[in-house]
């Protein structure tokens, strides 16, 4: 009984770890996107300022 339960617990623990890691990557990606968006907006603003 214990071996069977241990197997299931380890199995789902490993899968959960992967899902959490995937979520972390997703968050990092969104942060990078937001940072790039800000950088692009700043760059655009500077371009318009230079035109003026």
């Amino acid at each position: 009984m214990s071996t069977f339960v241990t197997s299931y617990v380890i199995f789902w623990l490993v899968v959960a770890l992967y899902v959490v890691q995937l979520g972390g990557r997703q968050r990092a990606l969104l942060e990078r996107m937001a940072s790039l968006q800000l950088r692009l907006q700043e760059s655009r603003r500077q371009q318009f300022e230079n035109l003026d």
Partner: protein
């Protein structure tokens, strides 16, 4: 407003389509499936072991196929699919070896033995690991895609050996054991539920890889002081944390 509603509805439906079969499969495997007479409760490991083994093999076939497509077309889009299959397949084959080892300890009295099925599966896992190492250790995407693609195609030769190992070579791994109908239904449901669940993870990882690649290109443009038009940012596929 309507788009948001459709997005929430699709997210909910996807979650339900993945979660419901998983819960049903888990319930059947852990509680409702009959207990095997000889091995007892330990036999229930088979449901997750076979399902993850199937996905480990399927993942390698996808990785090899996409690796071949990359080598023929030299298009990194194929490498993104191959890379996603690499990660999910590695996870599934690791879980196969782990659950198999726990089962073997109860059934054979040893954690590991170099019998044909186990050895060929270990070779597959080693090939998965090699591809992961190659991908993570090289910055040049085309170079890592070429090497990983070649390794994956080489690894495809191991697939029939893993599948047929119990028939072609003499070993101690069980060959399609006799099962009661309820056990067969449980096994089938587990295989389907796991395929849907890991298929979703595969799709999410692929979407991340595509976005990472696009972001990387955009960042290079911005750093080089040649900002692209803002519309380019909008071409990145929408991502949401809600899925997790």
């Amino acid at each position: 407003m309507q788009n948001k509603f459709v997005s929430i509805l699709c997210g909910g439906l996807t979650r339900a389509a993945v979660t419901c079969p998983l819960i049903a499969a888990l319930g059947l495997a852990m509680v409702f499936a009959p207990t095997e007479e000889t091995m007892g409760q330990v036999q229930r490991i088979l449901y997750i072991h076979v399902a993850s083994a199937w996905l480990g093999l399927l993942g390698f076939a996808v990785m090899g196929g996409c690796g071949l497509a990359y080598l023929l077309r030299r298009n990194l889009a194929w490498d993104h699919w191959s890379r996603a299959a690499n990660e999910i397949g590695w996870l599934c084959s690791s879980l196969t070896l782990l659950t198999g080892s726990l089962w073997a300890h109860s059934a054979w009295g040893t954690w590991w033995t170099w019998e044909p099925r186990l050895t060929t599966m270990f070779v597959l896992w080693a090939l998965y690991s090699s591809c992961l190492i190659v991908r993570s250790s090289m910055d040049e995407p085309h170079l890592s895609a070429r090497i990983a693609g070649a390794l994956a195609i080489l690894g495809l030769l191991d697939l029939p050996l893993v599948i047929m190992a119990t028939r072609w070579f003499r070993g101690i791994h069980p060959v399609s054991p006799e099962m009661e109908p309820m056990m067969q239904v449980t096994l089938l449901l587990n295989v389907i539920a796991f395929t849907v669940f890991f298929g979703l993870l595969f799709a999410r990882r692929h979407s991340q890889l595509v976005s990472e690649s696009l972001l990387h290109q955009l960042e290079i443009h911005v750093l080089a002081d040649h900002p692209p038009v803002v519309n380019e940012v909008r071409t990145i596929p929408p991502l949401s944390l809600e899925t997790f």
